[in-house]
């Protein structure tokens, strides 16, 4: 079973040289730590920055410089700052090559729910609905099952949707899966030591298994 760091590490392998990437809050943020050397990417923060760098050194925090998670950050050389309308303009216009975000549920046709649990305090969707509605290349980083042991990969989402037919790939602690355009989770890789049977048991939606499923390589 993968740790959160392992999930981030595996997703980092999906990032190609020259990509502009938007990382959501949680596991997606960790992906920045594992981008392979030689792969040149520019991170977009939807509050209005291209070229997000690491956290500042102690004492160098700048209240005017934060990411979309409201954490203090730095700007790398070559950064560009813009307003919120332009930020979502470049997202809507598909200039951002890859979006990585978390989810509470994903359905076998690629619907995603990640913003609202009825009956619980609703904090809002932030930029998630804009991102999933526009991005062509969306990878979800999530746990395969919830705390109650129920699958989060479902025939249909039960929670209010964030977007429809948009998720392309999912990386969980158990597996890497593609969401096929015609519907279904296609199993691509197993986490080290995890059997196909375990993945089957943890997947409520339609799981497509063809041939031998290799173990993940980092």
């Amino acid at each position: 079973m993968l740790t959160k760091e392992d999930i981030a590490k595996r997703i980092a392998r999906e990032i190609k040289d020259g990509y502009y990437v938007n990382l959501g809050i949680g596991i997606p943020t960790l992906v920045a730590n594992y981008i392979p050397t030689g792969v040149d990417v520019i991170l977009q923060s939807e509050n209005g920055l291209l070229g997000m760098g690491p956290f500042p050194f102690e004492g160098e925090e700048d209240a005017d410089l934060i990411n979309a998670g409201k954490q203090t950050i730095t700007m790398l050389p070559g950064s560009a700052v813009f307003d919120s309308a332009m930020s979502f303009g470049m997202i809507r216009a598909k200039k951002v090559n890859l979006t990585i975000l978390g989810a509470m549920e994903v359905s076998e046709n690629g619907d995603i729910a990640n913003w609202k649990i009825p009956g619980k305090m609703v904090k809002g969707m932030g930029g998630a609905m804009d991102l999933v509605a526009s991005a062509d290349n969306i990878i979800v980083a999530m746990q395969h099952v919830n705390k109650a042991g129920e699958s989060k990969l479902l025939p249909a989402c039960t929670l209010p949707l964030t977007g429809v037919k948009c998720v392309k790939k999912i990386v969980t602690e158990l597996a890497v899966l593609d969401v096929l355009p015609e519907g279904g989770f296609k199993l691509l890789e197993r986490a080290p030591g995890v059997s196909v049977e375990e993945i089957k048991a943890a997947t409520a939606g339609k799981l497509i298994i063809e041939g031998e499923i290799p173990e993940m390589v980092f």
Partner: protein
């Protein structure tokens, strides 16, 4: 032409109960903290506030919420505020949550003189309920209306007495789009300079959009999530 007013109290003096305000900032970053403090002091009530977030309990719009000055919040994300949650659950506060890009672009549309925009954000979700959907080139888009706000209140880094504004780093965020969108726009700045001191090529908000400007003193500029790394 001189748009300079004598501080936040004068800038907001004619904001009345029941009005709709836009408030710039993303979290605490780029927050018009002097005007918010003046509104808290004035006690204006039944306000509709359009702002990406709702502040924290003891800073930002949270201060206005504490005094029950806000009737309705229009935001994209409202976490980190216990009083907000209490008022929402008790039904004292009305809240409209909308996607962040839609929020920004509805401001932009107002500043560009366009009545509506079309965005894919929210298609197939509860955000789309009751809204017109149009299909362009095989993809569905929601029609979202430009905002109408009596006042837009923004914070910039520098400005001149003609209202030209320059923001700093990610404190630009919603400030630059809201500045264009108010019937009356109030700008508070860290540094008020003479016309000519700002390079015309580097102006982010042209002064035509700004009606009142003043220099605030002793900005607190609070940090919401202080994240750092150790020096090697």
């Amino acid at each position: 032409m001189n748009k300079v007013v004598n501080g936040a109290d004068e800038a907001i003096h004619d904001i009345k109960d029941g009005m709709t305000l836009m408030l710039g900032g993303f979290g605490m970053c780029g927050l018009p903290e002097k005007c918010i403090a003046a509104l808290v002091k004035k006690g204006t009530k039944n306000l509709t506030c359009i702002s990406n977030n709702a502040g924290v309990d003891d800073f930002g719009i949270g201060l206005m919420l504490k005094q029950r000055q806000v009737k309705k919040m229009i935001s994209s994300y409202v976490g980190e505020n216990a009083e907000f949650e209490r008022q929402l659950l008790s039904g004292e506060l009305e809240v409209e949550l909308i996607p962040q890009g839609t929020l920004a672009t509805r401001c932009m549309a107002a500043g560009y003189g366009m009545p509506a925009i079309f965005t894919p954000a929210g298609i197939g979700t509860e955000v789309a309920i009751g809204k017109e959907v149009r299909n362009f080139n095989g993809k569905d888009y929601l029609m979202e209306m430009a905002f109408e706000a009596d006042f837009a209140i923004v914070k910039a880094w520098k400005g001149d007495r003609l209202g030209n504004l320059v923001y700093r780093a990610t404190a630009r965020n919603f400030n630059a789009v809201m500045a264009m969108a108010g019937k009356i726009t109030i700008a508070e700045v860290e540094e008020l300079v003479e016309p000519g001191e700002l390079d015309p090529d580097h102006i982010h908000t042209p002064g035509i959009y700004v009606h009142r400007i003043f220099q605030g003193e002793n900005y607190e500029k609070r940090i919401e999530q202080r994240t750092v790394r150790k020096k090697q």
